[in-house]
Each structure stands twice: as C-alpha cells, then as structure tokens.
C-alpha cells in the first residue's frame, strides 16, 4: 500500500481521529465573528467554519476557529490542521497560509511542501496526485477563507459579557 500511505500519512490519520478545534464555540467577548458553510455536492461532504477575530495592537488576529463537519478523512483532517495553523495568526498571515496550502494541493503532487510554514498541513501534499481529492482537502480551508473575509468586512461584534450557548453549558 505504498501509494496509499503517501496519501494517508500518519499525521493525517491522527488528525482524522482527534479533530483539533472541532465543535462550534461561542465567540469570546469583544471578538468579531462570521462563519461559512461549504458543501461538496459531488459527495455530500460539508464543513462549517466559524472564525472569531480579536484585536492585538493594530492587527486583527484569529482568536478562534471552531468547526463542525461531516466528510472523509482528508476533508476533516485538513480542517483540523487548519485550526492548529491559523489560530493566533493575523488575518494577513492566515490568508497567506491558505494561499500556500492551496498552491501545494493544486500542484499535482509536484510541490515541495514548506513544513516550516504549513506544519502538519504539509502532509496533504500527496493529495495533489489525486485530482478528485483536492476538493476534499480544500473544503475546510475554503470555508475558513470565506468566513475570514466576512468577519473582516462585517463580522458580528460579540457584546461584552456574552452569554454562553445552551450547547456549551450542557457540554
């Protein structure tokens, strides 16, 4: 299963089993939030990503990425690595990461992944050799990119002392 192991690297299977940032969270006080739902109509996979932006000095910073989804190992694991990568980054840095990830998975397997930059997400380089799976890998990232744009433009400002949702209270 040589080619298979190139696609399903251990780190991908790990993220698939333990999805980082999974579950929708209420935005923290003073953050601006937006979310995006992305669906792959060909297979029914779907991911919803919520972005909460905070302010650090002059920069908008990704304070949290919470998400839910239903899909294959590639789509869910890639969203998990996205979470690890972009939380704490400025909006411009996060945008650059999305661009780097997209370029890597669209390179038909020819890319030399920048592990320094992409961390665990570099493991998805093998997806590029499977044209039908590129959309899977991009699903959560596309949702994040869309949610980020919305949060910047007209994100919901979370009022001070925001109440926690029922889901969170019972969780």
């Amino acid at each position: 299963m040589g080619s298979l192991d190139q696609l399903y690297q251990q780190v991908i299977l790990d993220h698939y089993r333990e999805k980082h940032g999974f579950g929708m969270r209420e935005p923290g006080t003073g953050t601006r939030t937006a979310q995006s739902h992305q669906l792959n109509p060909l297979c029914g996979d779907e991911v919803t990503v919520r972005v909460a932006l905070g302010r650090t000095g002059a920069d908008d910073v990704v304070q949290d990425v919470s998400w839910v989804g239903d899909g294959c190992s590639i789509s869910l694991a890639s969203t998990s690595t996205l979470h690890d990568l972009v939380v704490g980054e400025t909006t411009s840095e996060a945008g650059a990461l999305v661009g780097a990830f997209r370029a890597m998975v669209r390179a038909r397997g020819a890319a030399e992944p920048d592990e320094e930059l992409l961390g665990d997400a570099a493991a998805f380089v093998g997806v590029g050799r499977h044209a039908n799976r590129v959309k899977c890998a991009m699903l959560g990232w596309t949702a994040f990119e869309d949610a980020l744009k919305r949060a910047v433009v007209d994100g919901q400002l979370s009022p001070g002392g925001s109440t926690v949702s029922d889901d969170e209270e019972t969780a």
Binding site: M1, G2, S3, L4, L7, Y8, Q10, L13, Y16, L42, C43, G44, D45, D70, G71, C72, S73, I74, H130, R133, C136
Partner: protein
Amino acid sequence: MDTLRSLAPAGEAAPVGEAAPFDDAELAVLRARFPVLRRTIGDHPLAYLDSAATAQRPVDVLDAERDYLERSNAAVHRGAHTLAEEATEAYEQARVAVAGFVGRADDELVWTRNATEGLNLVAFALSQYGTGGADAGDLTLRPGDEVVVTELEHHANLVPWQQACLRTGAHLRWIGLTDDGRLDETQLDDVITDRTKVLAFAHASNVLGTVLPVERLVERARAVGALTVLDACQSVPHLDVNLVDLDVDLAVFSAHKMLGPTGIGALAGRREILDALPPVLTGGSMVEVVTMESSTFRPPPQRFEAGTPPVSQAVAWHRAVEVLDDLGMDRVAAHEHALTERLLAGVTKIPGVRVLGPETATDRVGAVSVVVDGVHPHDVGQVLDAAGVAVRVGHHCAQPVHRRYGATASTRASVYLYTAPSEVDAFLEALAGVRAYFGRR
C-alpha cells in the same frame, strides 16, 4: 420469441432460469475482447467493478464505430450520394436492432443524448401545452393531477418530475421502501389513485440493486388510467427485458451501460403514446413544412430528434446489442446472478460493513452498495483503488434513497457480463482491510 421472457415478479423463478453462468474458458475468451480489462493499477490487475456507472466496450463495438467512420461517414437523411445512403441505412438499421432488443418496433424508438434526456423529454412533453401531437386522450399534466415515483429513483427520474410539477401545478407523490430495500407494496393503492396521471419508476435501483415489481405497478397504473414511464437503465443491460411484455408505455435506457458508446440513449414507447406527445426540442430534421409563420412536424420518432443525430454512436450501439444477443441475455443474467450471490455472501461476512438493499440475490441486479462503519466512502474507494479495485463512491445520483437508509453516501461494487469471480474476491479482500487501515494506526 421464447428468449423474451418477462421479468418474473417476486416469488417466481428469478430471471436466471436454466441458463448457466459463463465458465472459466468462456469468460477468458469473453474478457479478451475487452482491451481495458488488461490494465494494471500499480502492481495490481484492474478489477473493474463500476459497470453500473459505465460499462467497458469490447473491440467489436470499437471496431464497428471506427469501420463506419472510415468507410461510410456522412450526414443521414439527406444527400443522394453513396456515403449518405450507407450512413442512413446503417443509422436506421441500428434503430431497428436497438428497438428490437427491447421488443419495440423501429418507429417506437427515439434516439436521445442519454437516458436523462429521455426522461426530461417526456416530462417536458407532458407539461407543456404544445402542439404537434395527435389526440390520444389528454396526457398533459394539470393542477390537481399527481405524478408518482418511488423513493429509490435516480435523480434523473425524480428531478424532471419535480420540475414538471412546478411548471404545471401537478403534485408529486412517491412510494416508500421497506427496511430490507424493497418497494413497500402496501402503499401502492394509497399512493396510486385516480388522480395519478403518471407513474414513473426504475426497473432496477442503481443503489440497492432491487428489481421492482413492474407487473404489479403497471397493473395498478392501468387500473387508474395512469401513464407508465420506466427507467430501464439498470435492467436492459443485465436482464432479458421486453418492454411490450412489461406493458409499460414509455421507457428509457442508455448505450454506455450496455457495451455501447456514451452520447446516445433511447426513449422507447408505445406508438400511440409517442404520437400523442408534442415535440420538445425543435428545429431541423423534425419538421415537415416550414413557413415564416409556422411549422408542421414529422411523426415519431423523428419528431423528437431535432438536429444532427449521433450516427456513429448508433452504429456502435447496434453492434453492442448484437454482442449481447450472441451471448444471450439469459446467460448474462445467470452470470451476474452468480456474481451477485458471491458479492452478497462476501460483504455480509465482513464486520462493520452494512449492505444498502436486499441481502439476497433474488429480484436483484449486481449493484451492491455498502456503508463501512466509521470510514467515509471516499476513503474506502481510495483504499480499494490502491488494490486495483475500481468502485463508485458517493451518493450515486440518488440522495433520497441514501437518506432513507441513514447514509449520505456509499461504496458501490457493480458487476457485468465480463466480471470474473476473482475480481469480486479482490474487492472483498480489499474491503475487509479498510477498517483496519484506518483504525490500526
């Protein structure tokens, strides 16, 4: 005509009868006619188990199309030159052959782009107040009328009816399914009523493999005066189907699922029904007299064939039905029945694998869809591909039937006349390793 056995309703002998599956020697000769089956995927021989999506083509069919193009290619039904005459002859002989394959006369078969277009043609023809059809009762859908389908339909036999209902004010209803993947026949009398104008249903499910009880459905439709439309895409390639014996008004099927080319399908129906329908696509080739003000239309089938037709595809399809006839559809059905039993016996033994549809091969074609517990179908398909096994993953253009059985998608293995038992075994072996692959590490 004793080969034109109608599909036995449930309970009677399955369409297998006394015919035998192909033995090893026959199968080897048969498979040698399909060049693509010699392919390898990585280190593995290809195990092509996706014929319900599209079938592979034998050299006979490939050669027939090429021979036509190299010798007689021309525009049909026009021109007085030799090639034009040969092309027209080949094209119309193909119509005779494909129509005859399902028990219809040549003027009862309309070429379409595919089966989907055939169903849309009918749905549009029934939902417009167009002119050009003969008066054969009022077939046009109107507010208060009902269209009945089943819950296992391919989107191609569901969405066109949803749209037709939106256009006309008719109401869409459907017959549900039992937990074991059969049509819930207890609903027939409640759902199919005097208000039912059209009953449209699949002969065999592309997901569940279930063969529907055509006889009883048609009987009920006749009793209430409803038009019957059969989606025969998954039956005509695999079973001995005679549309006259089945007594359906209209039926569609597709060349590329029965050894033929893509780009051509057929709408086959009773002459008087086709004659009553108005044209849908209009333009060249389907008209009689055209003035600046108006036009008159040719009788079926040409009334529904506007524009340049798929001639070389028709010629290739002709050869495909000859190949099927030579093999004998009773033997094709017997071969696939044995493979279906092998598939079902195998998958039901694998822990964590659930079959969508009947777990027995009775009244069932060889499309077997499974859900692997905890592993997404895309991942299943990827693992199988690494073993050389080609299957379909996803919802197979039938979301409602997946929803009915609590799944959003599935992994489908489907067999055809050239499928070898060893390919089924390769699938079963690879499938048995899927959960371990995603769980062990």
